[in-house]
């Protein structure tokens, strides 16, 4: 092997790389929060009394789950302007990531809600709780407790998926790495560094979710 590795050329760019990490984390956090909300609403819609709501939710979930994220983000960023709906790269990225995360978490959440026994609802009604209270305390929290490990896996996947929005020039770690690549021509080195940064972030996320699980979802219930 004759190639000389030279990571030192990347040193001047450490601030940019750090900024890339921050943008990636921000992008993930926004999309995960929005995605979780969409996921809960979609899971509810799939169990709704109204056929239209069920069909709409089912169609949304199947379309997102069976097409690649790259095509989704291209469709939103390049396709929708033809209909007069245009976005900045970052907004398009957030929209695409939230919709993607929402569809995948909807399935996970639905599994959790299905696992809540019928008697639990009835007990809630018998205790005189209002529907919203029943949903919050008897359905949502126990359901989240059951599915939280699966859900956090999904959230880490969303973090990794953010790298794809570099293809619509939304600014995050991958796009910053690409621009450093064009300046330094040290492709292998910069992508090794970016990969290590992603690895660190995904382990960080996983640890954070484990912590949340332990504090918020562990017994005894506070």
């Amino acid at each position: 092997m004759t190639y000389q590795f030279d990571f030192s050329v990347l040193l001047p760019y450490w601030e940019q790389l750090l900024r890339g990490c921050w943008l990636t984390i921000l992008l993930s956090a926004i999309s995960i929060s929005a995605g979780l909300t969409i996921g809960i609403l979609t899971a509810l819609a799939k169990r709704s009394r109204f056929t239209t709501a069920r069909i709409a939710a089912g169609t949304y979930v199947e379309i997102i789950r069976n097409t690649p994220f790259l095509v989704q983000v291209f469709f939103i960023f390049f396709g929708l302007p033809a209909l007069g709906i245009s976005f900045q790269p970052w907004s398009a990225a957030i929209l695409a990531l939230s919709l993607n995360c929402g569809a995948f978490s909807a399935e996970v959440i639905r599994g959790g809600i299905d696992a809540i026994a019928r008697g639990q609802y009835e007990a809630g009604t018998a205790l005189g709780l209002k529907p919203l209270q029943i949903f919050r305390h008897i359905v949502l929290k126990p359901a989240l407790r059951i599915i939280f490990p699966a859900l956090s896996g999904q959230f880490v996947l969303t973090l990794l998926t953010t790298s794809i929005v570099s293809s619509i020039s939304a600014e995050e770690l991958t796009s910053i790495a690409q621009s450093i690549d064009t300046l330094t021509f040290r492709s292998f080195e910069i992508y090794i560094v970016a990969t290590i940064l992603y690895l660190t972030m995904s382990f960080g996320f996983a640890t954070l979710f484990k912590l949340i699980d332990r504090v918020y979802f562990s017994y005894p219930v506070k």
Binding site: M1, T2, Y3, E62, I63, R65, N66, T67, P68, F69, L70, V71, Q72, F74, F75, F78, G79, L80, P81, A82, L83, V156, L160, T161, T162, S163, I164, S166, S167, T174, S187, F188, Y191, I192, A194, T195, Y198, L199, S202, F203, A206
Partner: protein
């Protein structure tokens, strides 16, 4: 001169599906062979083998597929191998698939009741025979549903090859989109083709999962 979006353009996008399917198959077969080795290492009794396989899996599950492709694509020439894009993406996706399949199959191997291994042990079967004749056939049944589910992931994942310039379904749609200025149609077409490929597999995976859940 802007091209119109007509039947030839739709067919041009459709022709990209060949590369998508071929790439998915290569990744699945290659990933399957390496993945089996990873799964066997992960479930081996030797701690260092377990650790190596664990690290391998964590690496591929903790980094974006796009970065893995970039590393192979830019890394192979650096290591002195001049390869064509086909081989580069095939290697990239094979490594990626092997880690995920390895983890799925590890789970399946461990889901086979412990007594089965112990019985094979008591009968004096060798490791190879124990695995081939006792554990793996049972593990295979458990792993069918998640494996089919992963194939959907893999087919969707091959779209990322478009970013490094490999012409498959997504890249074909991109080319047609910029030639016709009809991105909505072009990406819509691509999305429909992916959906037609993935939806039956997703359904199959779900049905297999249910069938297995009833049996146990």
């Amino acid at each position: 001169m802007i091209r119109q979006f007509g039947l030839p353009e739709a067919l041009a996008i459709l022709s990209g599906v060949q590369a998508t399917i071929l790439l998915s198959l290569i990744a699945f077969v290659g990933g399957g062979v390496v993945g089996l080795a990873v799964a066997l290492m992960r479930t081996s009794e030797r701690t260092w083998l377990q650790r190596c396989a664990g690290f391998y899996i964590d690496f591929f599950q903790g980094t974006p597929l796009l970065m893995q492709l970039f590393l192979v694509f830019y890394g192979l020439p650096v290591l002195g191998y001049k390869v064509n894009p086909w081989i580069a993406v095939a290697i990239g996706f094979t490594l990626h698939a092997s880690a995920f399949l390895g983890e799925i199959w590890r789970g399946s191997i461990q889901a086979v009741p412990r007594g089965q291994t112990e019985a094979a042990y008591a009968l004096g079967l060798s490791y190879a025979s124990r695995m081939r004749n006792v554990v793996l056939p049972q593990a295979m049944r458990i792993s069918v549903a998640p494996t089919v589910g992963f194939m959907v992931q893999l087919i969707k994942g091959t779209s990322l090859a478009a970013i490094i310039g490999f012409v498959e379904l997504s890249r074909a749609a991109q080319i047609i989109a910029s030639a016709t200025y009809k991105p909505l149609l072009a990406y819509g077409c691509a999305a429909i083709v992916y959906f037609v490929l993935c939806f039956p597999l997703s359904r199959l995976s779900m049905r297999l999962e249910k069938r297995f859940a009833v049996k146990t």
